[in-house]
Amino acid sequence: MELGALAAAIAVGLAALGAGIGNAIIVKSTIEGIARQPELRSSLQTVMFIGVALVEAIPIIAVVIAFLSIF
């Protein structure tokens, strides 16, 4: 049980850390792009959506697996 909780904490923590850094880079680039060229907002939002989706896929799997390893 204790090791399961430790494994869950490490899995979710590292996955969330990676997702946080990745999302920050994506949001920064998108906001810079929209501020420079507001007419490209729609296509930049689409690219951002793809990026955020790819970044967030791993932490969601990590959360599910972490919960399963705790219980």
Partner: protein
Amino acid sequence: MTDYGVEIRRIAQWTMYAMALYALGWGFTPYTPVFAGLLLGGAFSLYNVWSMYQKIRKLGEAAASGGRFMTLGTLSRLAVGALAAVVIIQFPDEFHPAGVVGGLMTPYVLIFFRSLLEVRRL
């Protein structure tokens, strides 16, 4: 509707097509828990897609008009994953864990292939 909205609508549409295939698998194959899990994960993932769409749309509006934007909603999407895990733990005979994870990943896989097609077009 903007190009962005059309794109997200298309992804949600494809996810629902995949869920229709899962429903067929649930009804006509002996792997009922796996396909039930895929259906459950697919339903949760539709919320994730909608949440991402809304948050990114609001972020775009805030960036264009100089407004404030606080959060991207990552925590609520992770909480959806936790909720799916709780459902698996509560009903282990009805839902297979691999199926639920696969269902949660359905739109992400579709988005990945969509992005590959976009890269190929460029």
